[in-house]
């Protein structure tokens, strides 16, 4: 099927749709998503909402960056995700880039996807060990020209 995304119209297979029954935390109406690769050799992905074309979140698989990231799922979440084996759970975490060009990821609110059924849920961990803005790395400062260009576009 053809869907309109933030990056233009694309064709995706209906069977590759990820279903978040409860939507994202704070955006409950956003329920159907697909994963778009960012570009070759990039660890980043876009979690593109199919219900709201303008909504596309930058995400990573946190295991690409942290091999010791782990958490327990509540029984209710295991049920909602239709999970029968932990190996079927794929984890995504959202990524942001702040004004200081720090690239952070939200380890407190991971999105868990059942790779077999594509049922998914964003869970909020009660663990105090994980931050919603865990630093991945710091980007170099934007060149002056690029910052000005962004400013003039807004003006």
């Amino acid at each position: 099927m053809n869907v309109v995304t933030r990056f233009g119209e694309i064709e995706i297979e209906e069977k590759s749709c990820i279903h978040l029954k409860d939507g994202l935390v704070g955006i409950p109406q956003a329920k159907r998503f697909c994963l778009l690769s960012h570009r070759e050799d990039s660890p980043f992905l876009w979690l593109q909402c199919l219900d709201e074309p303008a909504l596309s979140l930058a995400v990573i698989n946190p295991m690409d960056f942290f091999n010791d990231y782990e958490f327990d799922l509540q029984d209710a979440d295991v049920e909602a995700l239709e999970l029968t084996s932990a190996e079927d759970a794929v984890v995504l975490t959202t990524v942001t880039v702040d004004e200081e060009r720090r690239v952070t990821t939200n380890l407190l609110g991971p999105i868990v996807v059942n790779r077999r059924t594509l049922a998914a849920k964003q869970v909020v961990l009660s663990s105090e060990n994980y931050s919603p803005r865990h630093l991945l790395f710091q980007l170099k400062r934007q060149p002056e020209g690029a910052a000005k260009e962004a400013g003039s576009r807004a003006a």
């Binding site: 990039s42 980043f44 909504l55 880039v97 939200n106 609110g109 919603p132 803005r133 980007l139």
Partner: protein, 86 residues
């Protein structure tokens, strides 16, 4: 908003499945015990708000920033590779 005054050890019941017990009051902090079915999610509200905020921020990441981030990761990987071959 319904406002109830409770003492330590007293409870309130919400619906027929949720019980909240006041366990301790110390200064400005109140400790609550919550009994609810496992299908009902119980969260500290500020954590939900933080996660909601990060979702909005992640949706605001522009393509240029993500390209810069991907390049930074590639450079780091290359750095690792050359360090390994030395």
């Amino acid at each position: 908003m319904l406002v109830l005054a409770r003492k330590v050890g007293q409870q309130i019941v919400i619906g027929d499945q949720i019980e909240v017990t006041v366990l301790e009051v110390r200064g400005e902090q109140v400790r609550l015990g919550i009994n609810a079915p496992r299908s009902i999610a119980v969260h500290r509200k500020e954590l939900l708000e933080q996660v909601a905020e990060e979702n909005v921020r992640a949706a605001g990441v522009d393509r240029e920033s993500l390209n810069a981030a991907a390049e930074s990761v590639e450079d780091q990987d290359k750095g690792d590779d050359s360090a390994r071959t030395k």
